[in-house]
Amino acid sequence: MIAVIALALTACSGAAATTATTTVAAEAAFPVAVSSDAGVITIDEQPARIAALSATHVEMLFAIGAGDAVFASDLYSDYPPEADFLTKIDSFNLNVEAVIDLDPDLVVLTFDPGEVVAALEAVGIPTLLFATATSIEDSYEQIATLGAASGHVAEAGRLVAEIQEGLKEVVDDLGDAGSGLRYYYETDPFSFYTPNSSTFIGKLLGLLGMENIADAAPDEFASGFPQLTAEFIIDADPDVIFLAAGGEDLATVAARDGWDTMTAVKEGRVTVLDVDVASRWGPRVIDLLRAAAEGIGGLE
């Protein structure tokens, strides 16, 4: 009698285990080896407590269906709206022990303020470190890596395809309305550090066929953000201006000494971009590119 029950139980749990394994295998295989700027790491099981200390990567994780596993984010994460309810951690003054205390099974970082990756590694917490993307391909690669690490490979693939299509659609809609136009992209209205075409935003806007006036400025340390001066910008006479610093608009730009002489200001082609969307390289780059295309004009 006892033997029969035991046998039945074994059979039951065996069947359950097989089913579970099959389901997971269809989604993703663990353990999985993934590589980032923190080196190659092995993740043994599908993470259930992800601390994603970067607004961009929180957006990516939610977009690939891994949002349920994300429980903590950095202070700036505000999208999607669910991100408001996450445990907030100051990722720039990171106290590594505090992170360990939250017991995450995966940590995602964009900045290591000093040995954080090594410390998490030392206590056996898998960590991904993604530098700021400098190309759209970087963004795709990070999405794919997050997909593998979180067990959402297929969704990650779909998201990348969606972004590719979305960007292509904007480019097609604009046609050649942007080609040959010269633009100034403002991220810093005080000292005019400006992204050139080697940056993520530079490459993204390059898709619209425009030229970046910051490319003519020297950038000897290859930071991608040469410092311009007001004189340089006025002299370059951009056709289009994008404002991504917050607090500025066409009126404030026109009110600056000498700026009203610029073609972009005279023609009113000054576009205010959403600061958060403009500073992240996640799924909302489609919105960013569309907003930029609308600023150029000529969209149907």
């Binding site: 951690i89 100051d90 720039f92 003054n93 990171l94 106290n95 590594v96 022990e97 505090a98 992170v99 360990i100 205390d101 939250l102 900045f111 290591d112 303020p113 000093g114 040995e115 954080v116 090594a118 410390a119 590694e121 030392a122 206590v123 056996g124 550090y193 950038d219 000897e220 340390f221 930071s223 991608g224 953000f225 410092q227």
Partner: protein
Amino acid sequence: MTTPLRHSALHSGPLLTAVAALGLVALAGVGFGAVSLPLGGVTRELLDHIPGITLDSGLGERQAAILWELRLPRVVLAGFVGGTLAVAGAAYQGVFRNPLADPYLLGVAGGAGLGATIAIAAGASSTGVLPIAAFAGGMVAVVITYALGGVGARRSANSLILAGVAVAAFFAAMQTYVQQRSSDTVREVFTWILGRLATVGWGEVMAIVPFFAVMAIVLVVHRRHLDVLAVGEEEAATLGVHVPRVRIIIVLAATLGTAAAVSVSGLIGFVGIIVPHMLRLVVGPSYRRLVVLSMLTGGAFLIGADLLARTVIAPAELPIGVVTAFVGAPFFAVVLHMGRMQT
């Protein structure tokens, strides 16, 4: 300056107090943090590693990893860095007979800052190249200071201080230039400049220990010379002390230690000023006691400051330089007010 002899004699009281304080603060530093480790377990775990003693600490695997890989190296590093800065500050104050002298007087900070900034701008990570670049920059700056200030010649210590000011300003300007031209590195550079004791494993500790040892031995050996120098250069010379030689030996030793401290922990201000002055208020101005006490108390002070830095705004962390300056600046004002600044 005319300290009675009995005051200069080595009493064991202050020494024992300093050792006890260092031990207690270190235990607190190991025990407290964002993750709380049971103090009893920590003590047993530490004792367990002494040969011949076997104890079950009751710490989990992750707790043990936090203790051995994160917490303990950090506390030990803070101890060495604090001790180095404090005793180097005391030595500088004695050699230059200037109560405001700090370990960064001869341009170490400016040079190390430039070295670190260039390394960061060139894409070096926080470990590896950065400390070496900082150390090299610091030593280059001090060598230039010596060349300009002419130590070998019988010139006054003031010419060396002024050369240090010029070199520090020049290196700071170059550092600002590199930082300006490479704006994406600003955050990392500031993290470094404000000082940090974040460490994993024992690499940094191993890096500073040899320099600390050399500096400590030289300063302990020359502690009586520091007392003689404090009386005045002429007087020291008449007492048979070869002033320029003794001065360069002491300054080099203190600088070597400081450069090593800066390279592993960035710029941590005020320790080199407040710790020696605090001790002078308590035990008097004699370097016979001040040298050893500065090392112990400086270590305890920085371990304590670091404990504050990582617990006050947990789960975030204050830069250690902010804590030492926050405590240091008011203290400095009080000392000034009491008018008891002694060299």
